[in-house]
């Protein structure tokens, strides 16, 4: 296996992380919606908290993407 093929395979493996982060982001929004439908009055105050959870989950997916890009394009 030459270096280029190994790089492309490695980038593809790193991209799995973005899919896993998608599960996390979906879980954050889904759980918020579940809670918000049960107690709609409290929902408005908690949107900020939801976005913090969203930011934390999303960051890990973005880091996986950054790793894939570094593997592909870094010299």
């Amino acid at each position: 296996m030459d270096l280029h093929a190994a790089k492309v395979i490695g980038a593809g493996l790193a991209a799995i992380g973005t899919g896993v982060a998608a599960i996390g982001v979906g879980y954050v929004f889904g759980s918020f919606l579940q809670g918000a439908l049960r107690n709609p009055e409290a929902a408005g105050k908690q949107t900020g908290t939801m976005f913090i959870g969203f930011a934390a989950a999303e960051l890990l997916g973005l880091i996986a993407f950054a790793v894939a890009m570094i593997i592909l394009y870094a010299q």
């Binding site: 900020g48 976005f51 913090i52 969203f54 960051l59 880091i63 993407f65 890009m69």
Partner: protein
């Protein structure tokens, strides 16, 4: 059959001097990044200047500017408390600059030849500087208000004595990582969206160039996909600007209240 169009999604992020020439060998140069920073700043200034009318019965423009400011003001006051009003100008500056910069990168100026938009927030240097300014504001405010008592931020109240060294190190690392995560999130989110749209736009061109029925079908599918992607990217632009402002106000809350107050 036409020659295969090669895909180079990273080319859109390259910085080059306005009017051509080499980037190296000069002390300072006016690049496309600087040009778009000026355009974004001009848009923000124009929007706020047009909105600051102080009329008793506000017009549409004034309502737009005031509601945007009120949105950020409720964010800072809600997170920090009544004294959060002092930090509204800085958080509002961050929010409006990042929002307009993100949106400017998506504008279809490419229909004018040789004038394609440059997303300034897709450069780590710019988002890094914004994050460092936010982080140093937190440090200055914390040390100004609490002196060396500020270090109690790293030891939550009621930590058992044997746990203190471990907790201190963990909290210190999580504190020092903040500017990196703040800058990395915005920069990578912008880069990822633009690469995705660039790759699919190239698929459209390649599909048409094959000249076959199947290539045309794939082009049409990619066109439909890219339209929905653009809508999602508009959402991501707003969310990333909001998250940057939200996290800045949360870090300021930490520096002011030192774990003491929970809203």
């Amino acid at each position: 059959m036409a020659a295969e169009h090669s895909i180079d999604p990273m080319h859109q992020f390259s910085i080059s001097p306005v009017g051509g020439g080499a980037l190296t060998g000069h002390f300072a140069q006016f690049t496309n990044s600087a040009l778009w920073m000026l355009i974004v700043t001009g848009c923000v200034v124009l929007f706020m200047w047009g909105g600051m009318q102080r009329k008793l019965i506000p017009g549409r423009w004034q309502v737009a500017a005031e509601s945007l400011l009120e949105f950020i003001n409720s964010l800072t006051v809600g997170n920090i408390g009544p004294e959060g009003r002092k930090f509204t100008p800085w958080v509002f500056t961050l929010f409006s600059f990042i929002l307009i910069a993100n949106l400017m990168g998506l504008m279809p100026f490419g229909i004018v030849p040789a004038f394609h938009p440059f997303t300034i927030t897709s450069q780590f240097s710019l988002t890094g500087v914004l994050a460092i300014i936010s982080f140093s504001t937190v440090l200055v405010v914390g040390f100004w208000r609490h002196g060396f008592h500020f270090f109690s931020l790293f030891i939550p109240h009621g930590t058992p004595l044997p746990m203190i060294p471990l907790i201190f190190i963990i909290e210190l690392i999580s504190f020092m990582v903040r500017p990196f995560s703040l800058a990395l999130r915005l920069f990578v989110a912008m880069i990822a969206g633009h690469i995705l749209m660039d790759v699919f736009a190239n698929f459209i061109v390649n599909g048409i160039q094959t000249g076959s029925m199947m290539g045309g079908g794939i082009s049409l599918l990619c066109l439909i996909f890219i339209i929905f992607m653009s809508a999602l990217e508009l959402l991501v632009c707003a969310i990333q600007a909001y998250i940057f402002a939200l996290l800045t106000s949360l870090y300021l809350k930490d520096a002011i209240h030192l774990h003491k107050l929970d809203h």
